[in-house]
């Protein structure tokens, strides 16, 4: 006897339900009751919510909730092959790039990589003190044998952040030019930003095999692309109307306006977006070690899995150091752009 029998009895639907009613007791309470040989007395106090499962007890025709999740899964699996057929070739270059970058980072000797990184730092930030700080950090990490892990993490971030910028800036520009497109894209960005990071991984694992690097590449890009898109859109929309009008009055073409006025004036915002994109790539690359992304995240994961406290903590510290380096260098570049405009 289930709680909602009265509903189906009173509406005369019992005949429709009865055809396949499961005779097996489903709930723990039913089992206990069956064992004791008594009916469960249902008081108003623990009268169940009319959920799918509760209704199913009274009427077998009503599906259970696990049928719903099963249905979703089946649907996804049915789509998977066709989805894969489209997505696989498109995303394949991502695997090549990630594998290529990781390979390059592995085969290039440290005495080339470290000076190269310092040179890039110096070029972007134009600051000696920052360059020295970065040098000290990397040398420190290398000294405690975390060099290869750190370089792997950096390689993945470089590749993913570069792709985020290459895709995100044009998307942001397109959004800034069409209110309709903006209205369509903003909910997607909101969703990408609010979904817990682990949730991305679930459909991706089904779509691609865990051994492919693009799996974590896509997860990182989806998560990290949001700020650069948002801030490009915002930056271009905030460009001084007077200056745009001047550009118009002097006969600029739309293309000239975009490249000579809108993008340069939006650059501080775009750079702020790139800074956030890089920081979010770093956050995600750690989580992505769950799906075989190499780097410092692997060590953190080892720390958690096999309770190696020291390994986990040191790797965590390494991540903090990388985060500070990346943040400082991009902020220095941002400050330079800002200084030349205000």
């Amino acid at each position: 006897m289930a709680s909602y029998d009265f509903l189906f009895n009173s509406t005369g639907l019992e005949g429709w339900c009865d055809t396949e009613q499961s005779s097996a007791p489903t709930s723990m309470a039913d089992l206990m009751a069956a064992a004791q040989g008594t009916e469960v007395e249902i008081t108003a106090w623990d009268f169940p919510f009319p959920s799918l499962d509760a209704l199913n007890e009274s009427c077998g025709k009503i599906p259970e909730t696990r049928d719903l999740t099963k249905g979703l899964e089946d649907g996804f699996l049915a789509m998977k092959d066709s989805l894969r057929f489209v997505l696989d070739p498109i995303t394949e270059p991502l695997s090549w790039m990630l594998d290529g970058a990781l390979y390059l980072a592995e085969v290039t000797p440290w005495w080339i990589v470290i000076p190269l990184l310092l040179l890039i730092t110096r070029m972007i930030s134009k600051s000696w003190s920052l360059t020295i700080g970065v040098g000290a950090s990397i040398v420190g990490l290398a000294f405690i044998d975390h060099y290869s892990y750190a370089i792997q993490t950096l390689s993945i971030i470089f590749v993913c952040a570069a792709i985020c910028v290459l895709l995100g800036v044009p998307i942001g520009i397109a959004m800034s030019r069409s209110d309709r497109l903006q209205r369509a894209i903003i909910p997607v960005l909101d969703m990408l930003q609010t979904l817990p990071t682990f949730v991305y991984l679930i459909p991706l694992i089904f779509l691609f095999s865990v051994t492919e690097s693009k799996l974590y590449g896509i997860a990182i890009i989806l998560y990290a692309i949001v700020p650069v898109v948002r801030l490009t859109d915002l930056g271009i929309r905030m460009v001084d109307k007077d200056v745009l009008e001047a550009a118009q009055a002097f006969g600029m073409t739309p293309r000239q306006k975009l490249y000579q006025v809108q993008i340069p004036l939006a650059l501080p915002n775009i750079m702020a977006g790139i800074n956030q994109t890089i920081m979010m790539s770093l956050a995600m690359v750690v989580i992505a070690s769950l799906v075989s992304a190499p780097g410092l995240g692997v060590l953190v994961l080892r720390g958690i899995r096999s309770l190696e406290l020291g390994v986990g903590l040191v790797a965590g510290l390494g991540i903090v150091i990388l985060a500070i380096i990346l943040d400082r260098v991009t902020k220095a570049a941002l400050a330079r752009v800002n200084a030349s405009q205000h």
Partner: protein
């Protein structure tokens, strides 16, 4: 009279979601306030007819919100009219396609903005050279030109500075140099000096007049300041609520205001400094003995200073050495008092 450089014919501009429909009500006689209350449309300009002569400074004056910026933006079609015609050198600008329009903006018209509107990421020199850069000209050609104009507006040595390093007055000098470097015969100036301090403003007005003697451009100057308008204008157009209330030679408007609004408007200015001998002199009368000579282009203030405050007698008016008329001091004194409009 020669063909005007720019002609505005029966121009109307309505802002709102359906301007064409609103135009019907405007033609039926609905005014600005009524229209706004009726269906939320703003009547920006109403039946404007203005001719701008080549080589003259036309000042469009009116209070804030009277439609000055809207009007000047019709000249280079930053704003399209709801109805009416814009003719530049006799050509209908409204018939232009994108390409012709850009061509006109690049070669025929330049513009100076109230808030300077310089590109913050480019140097002063690059900003000055905006027009030739947009036209795709060669650096070796336009750089000397841009440098020349920078020097002409008094900014030699600032070529490599950035706009944020300059004061307001200097920024607007760049704005003017930028407009001049475009070499366009028409220059639109929307409240170009309104954001500047009074002293710097006077300097800039003098600079503009000085350049104009040399360049003879057709200038449209927007201002909300009567003193500035009177100082610069060859032709003065007074706007109120999107309508022209009076236009003409500034001295003429001053002496013959056609509207109470204008009477109020001009009641506070220093007439002695604005009015000139030519506007109030009379034809030569041989019989009268002259107590002295004055110049036709003198302001009344200069005459008063010259005659030492004498309020009687008649002076001979000369221009370029020739006698052209005479002026009774009593007429001068009377003209200093604003007249009530005839019919009141």
């Amino acid at each position: 009279m020669t063909e005007p450089m720019i002609s505005i014919r029966n121009l109307y501009k309505v802002f709102g979601s359906d301007p064409k429909a609103a135009m019907k009500e405007v033609h039926a006689g609905m005014g600005k306030e009524e229209l706004r209350e009726h269906n939320g449309h703003v009547l920006g300009l109403k039946n404007i007819n203005v001719d701008l002569q080549e080589g003259e400074i036309t000042v469009i004056m009116g209070l804030s919100g009277s439609g000055k910026s809207t009007l000047v933006r019709h000249f280079n079609r930053l704003i399209d009219p709801t109805e009416g015609q814009v003719l530049v050198k006799g050509e209908d600008v409204l018939a232009y396609d994108e390409l012709q329009l850009r061509e006109m903006r690049r070669k025929t018209m330049s513009m100076v903005f109230q808030h300077f509107a310089l590109l913050p990421h480019r140097t002063v020199l690059q900003n000055t050279a905006l027009a030739p850069v947009v036209r795709g000209e060669d650096k070796s050609e336009y750089e000397p030109e841009a440098k020349k104009w920078l020097e002409r507006v008094g900014l030699a040595g600032y070529e490599d500075s950035y706009p944020h390093q300059l004061s307001g007055g200097m920024k607007q000098r760049v704005g003017i140099a930028r407009a001049l470097t475009s070499n366009a015969p028409i220059m639109l100036m929307d409240e170009a000096f309104s954001a500047l301090d009074p002293l710097i403003r006077t300097d800039m007005q003098d600079l503009l007049l000085e350049l104009q003697v040399e360049l003879n451009k057709t200038i449209v100057f927007i201002s909300h300041d009567l003193d500035e308008a009177l100082k610069l204008a060859d032709h003065l157009v007074i706007l109120k609520d999107g309508e022209v209330v009076q236009q003409g030679e500034p001295q003429h408007i001053l002496l013959n205001p056609e509207d109470d609004y204008i009477v109020d408007f001009i009641s506070d200015i220093n007439r002695a400094r604005v009015l000139r001998v030519r506007s109030i002199m009379e034809p030569l009368n041989e019989k009268i003995e002259h107590s002295g000579e004055i110049q036709r282009e003198d302001t009344l203030e200069q005459v008063i200073a010259q005659t030492g405050g004498e309020s009687s007698g008649t002076y001979l008016v000369k221009h370029e050495g020739e006698p052209v008329g005479e002026l009774q001091m009593s007429t001068l004194v009377r003209s200093l008092v604003p007249q009530k409009r005839s019919g009141h």
